[in-house]
């Protein structure tokens, strides 16, 4: 493996990490800020990805498709939330996985529109040619030969940074105080005259829109979309990141996503005396053990505050 190829590979791993970071920032709004145990988060990513893909393959320009894709993800959040947000926490968790699976199965079966298991091709629309333009500009004007994955890597992390900064800013608002109060005790919030249901619905929509962004970037990275990209396991990897970084900590999300992405994609690069599928299994054993160890010994995660840990 040459060094250039290796660099391209790491750029890929880090882009995936950035996409996960955005995905989990959305999850943080649900779980960390509002106490909504959303186990179907991947559905919002899928909504962002497939609505981008379906719009661009039907002639909508990519730049117009992106905000619409976020809107679709947010609307899906509202749609899922309306019947489920009044349920008890453990019921909500299961029902959200179910909602995510319903969406995935529908995508899989609507072959005419989505390509089903054969995949939705050219889902990133004008992105590849735009990417080539960027690379050419760098080469022609600055004389720098960029690896082809670098532009998306930079864009992804810029987007992640902007979202994280916005969330930090939102964090100081009375709105988030009300969300945190919902997380602590809904009765107390209702007794204080705050509309609990609306607050939860808004948080669900915001986190869903953020996950929608991760879906857009995923589409740009992969170009083709397959239903199996959006299995429930993605949500649980998101939870592993959230737990490792610390529930309630935005910075923890960033670090957690790099660590976990390295474990998922990165170990492929290391030389194991094992067959590829065994390595694949092994890395999920490691992720499982990390989740267990963090939950047992440091439930607030690496960067969470013990006083604000809300796992009860």
């Amino acid at each position: 493996m040459g060094p250039l190829l290796a660099f391209g590979f790491w750029a890929y791993v880090l882009t995936v990490a950035g996409i996960y970071a955005i995905f989990v920032l959305g999850l943080q709004v649900h779980v960390g800020d509002t106490g909504l145990l959303n186990f179907g988060h991947v559905a919002f990513m899928a909504a962002g990805a497939y609505s981008t893909g379906l719009m661009v393959t039907n002639g909508v320009p990519l730049l117009a498709a992106i905000p619409l894709a976020m809107l679709v993800a947010a609307l899906l959040g509202v749609l899922v939330g309306l019947p489920t947000l009044r349920l008890r926490g453990d019921y909500f968790a299961i029902v959200t996985i179910a909602a995510g699976e319903i969406l995935r199965i529908m995508i899989q079966n609507q072959q005419g529109a989505t390509g089903g298991t054969l995949g939705l091709r050219k889902a990133s629309g004008g992105w590849p040619s735009f990417n080539r333009d960027i690379l050419r500009w760098f080469e022609d004007t600055l004389g720098i030969e960029l690896e082809r994955r670098v532009p998306l890597l930079v864009i992804t992390w810029l987007v992640a940074l902007v979202i994280a900064l916005l969330l930090v800013r939102i964090g100081r608002s009375p709105w988030r105080r009300a969300l945190r109060a919902v997380r602590e005790n809904e009765d107390a919030v209702a007794a204080a005259g705050k509309p609990v249901f609306q607050l939860k619905l808004q948080a669900l929509a915001l986190g869903a829109a953020i996950a929608g962004v991760s879906g857009v970037l995923f589409t740009l990275l992969q170009t083709s979309l397959y239903p199996e990209n959006f299995e429930p396991i993605v949500t649980f990897v998101g939870f592993a990141i959230l737990i490792l970084g610390g529930i309630g900590s935005y910075f923890g999300v960033v670090l957690g996503s790099i660590l976990i992405s390295f474990i998922i994609s990165g170990v492929r690069f290391l030389d194991f005396p094992l067959a590829a599928d065994k390595v694949a299994a092994l890395r999920f054993v490691v992720i499982g053990l990390i989740i267990m160890a963090v939950m047992a010994f440091r439930p607030q995660g690496l960067f969470g505050k013990k006083e604000e840990l809300h796992l009860d």
Partner: protein, 305 residues
Amino acid sequence: MAPRAVRVGSARFRMDDLLQTTINGIASGSIYALGAIGLSLVYAILKLVNFAHGDFMTLGGYVAFAVNVSLGMPLVVAIAAAVVAVAVLGLVTEELIWRPMRKRGAGLMQMLLLSIGLAFVLRNLILLTWTGESRKLNVDDTASYGIGIGRVSLLQILVIGIAAAALVGVGLLLTRTYVGKSMRALSDSFDLAEVSGIDTKRVVTYTWILGGGLAGLAGVLAAVFTTLTPNMGWTLLLGIFAAIILGGIGNPFGALVGGLALGLVQEWSTNFVEPTYKEAIGFAVLILALLFRPNGLLGHATRTG
């Protein structure tokens, strides 16, 4: 007798299809029910939402595969081995994980996420050991018998028969024996049961033996009825959760009703829509049911304050 066809949408709906899908529904519903009762008992008594329960089932399936196919022993022995192995797994995780965590005062979510970690570990250890290839147990899957206007396969008879026997056994155990009554007392209030002199540690042990054993059995039956892959239990788990929620969380009898209802709805739906939608239909029914009965079909509104 010529089957009478009725047009419903674009699908042909016939009486024998209804009978056939009913038998299928009872068979898959029995598997959901067996899995759901074990999971529900563990939840009711230990307040643990065990996301590894599906992988417990998978392990049961693979233990049966090892005994039945690799070692060439009869199915009965394989079933017994699977039940014992998963019950032991339950007890081991209780000793190593759940009890120490309860002692530290771990919350519901902390335990739930721990069980997700355990699920990852189990599933992928199974994948490491037996690879991802799909396996079959050594059962004649072609034999079938005509009953009236439909046919019932040997597999269906096996699954429904064994499940029914196990369900009756569990029902008797819970309602007639001291251990069963103690379990139900614990599920009402752990602390109260402890004060009233019930040996809670023993009851917890029995809970894992019963919950794990049922998971093992459900795993073998699922392996007999469908195909055995490392993802089998995880795929079933969501349906099992749906069954429990449909029936009302923490109520083993509700889990039975919920499991059968889910199996039947899924199979019946194949009369009207593509079978690839049947899982989605099951989940949609779950969400719809919760709109009207937020505490499940057999759940009661609990009194607060």
